[in-house]
Symmetry: C2
Subunit: 169 residues, 2 copies
DNA sequence: ACAACCAGTTGCAATATGCAATCACATGGG
DNA sequence: CCCATGTGATTGCATATTGCAACTGGTTGT
């Protein structure tokens, strides 16, 4: 067996898996946008991901254990993507990326609301949010959905109908 | 003026800047490996970055305000790269990436030591480390260098002379 | 003078990405 | 049944990025 990795450094290995322009965009939309179907991820993407790139990333994530793919019971053709625990553990990472981007990139105010809430909430909010993701994607028990509701409604209010997704097929 | 960005989302904008296989590797080596010269970054890179990629990234980082480039006073030909505050603020992000990679990628034990120390130290250690980076790269006052010393020596001990960099020119 | 070293640049093949068109299959309505 | 629509992709092709070796123009040390 040959070693396909550039090095065994944890930062490097994470970059080999997620270090490109689209991977974390897809994860972000599943986690914070609650998108679970190919078509949702394709057409409701703020950045306009191409269908072949999306297909490739979803396939790679399933192969690497970040997502699971199951058939939708109501629609045989539809595939439902669910987060695994490793993917849920990316929440702190995405929160840090969002916090950094909010300070040091020309992010628009409306799209920064979500990052700001996550930053102000801190690790406690992240943990509550992750627990709710577990209840949605892994079937874990939950006590409420206040965090999801807060983040979702803040995001929807900020973006709302004004966002014109650049859908393609 | 046309808008060159895919969206104003802070996560997206951060990915447009740092979302590739090499950018954070270079930042990591400057921050944790204390490498400040082109040749150091090129030949002491664990992953073996190519010289044109390194040149491109350094140039982009200077353009985007993540690094500053100054001439070495002792050596006219040598260029010294220094971290700016935005780059120093990437420490928490790199710590999260390392922590995730340590759990969910096949990272080698020796290269995970640094990530483990950062994870166990938490935000307090990050802040102390960042303050020391400011004293080194920005000339800020400092009270000591225990954090750098700890991280550096742990890393050097783990990698030591065993690391054979794949240098190219 | 001369070898060694410095920060890059150049040329070129291989690979990855972006994008539109297309595919096979499933569902729903008449 | 027939056909429009929606599904998760795949294909072809142009462009962009990467990997790699060779090379450049200048500097330093002896």
């Amino acid at each position: 067996m040959t070693e396909p990795h550039r090095s065994g450094c944890p930062i490097n290995l994470t970059l080999e898996l997620l270090g490109d322009r689209w991977s974390l965009i897809v994860i972000r939309d599943i986690i914070f946008g609650n998108r679970r179907y190919f078509r949702e991820l394709l057409t409701q993407s703020e950045e306009g991901i191409a269908s072949n790139i999306l297909a490739d990333r979803l396939k790679r994530f399933v192969e690497n254990g970040l997502l699971t793919r199951t058939d939708d019971p109501d629609h045989r053709q539809k595939a439902l993507y669910s987060l695994t625990e490793p993917a849920i553990q990316l929440v702190p990472l995405l929160a840090q990326i969002g916090a950094w981007g909010r300070r040091y990139t020309p992010a628009t105010h409306e799209l920064s609301v979500r990052a700001q809430l996550l930053e102000e909430g801190g690790p406690k909010l992240w943990a509550a949010f992750m627990q709710e993701l577990r209840s949605i994607h892994l079937g874990a028990p939950s006590k409420g959905r206040s965090v999801i509701a807060t983040l979702q409604s803040a995001f929807e209010r900020a973006v709302g109908e004004s966002a014109r997704p650049k859908a393609r097929q």
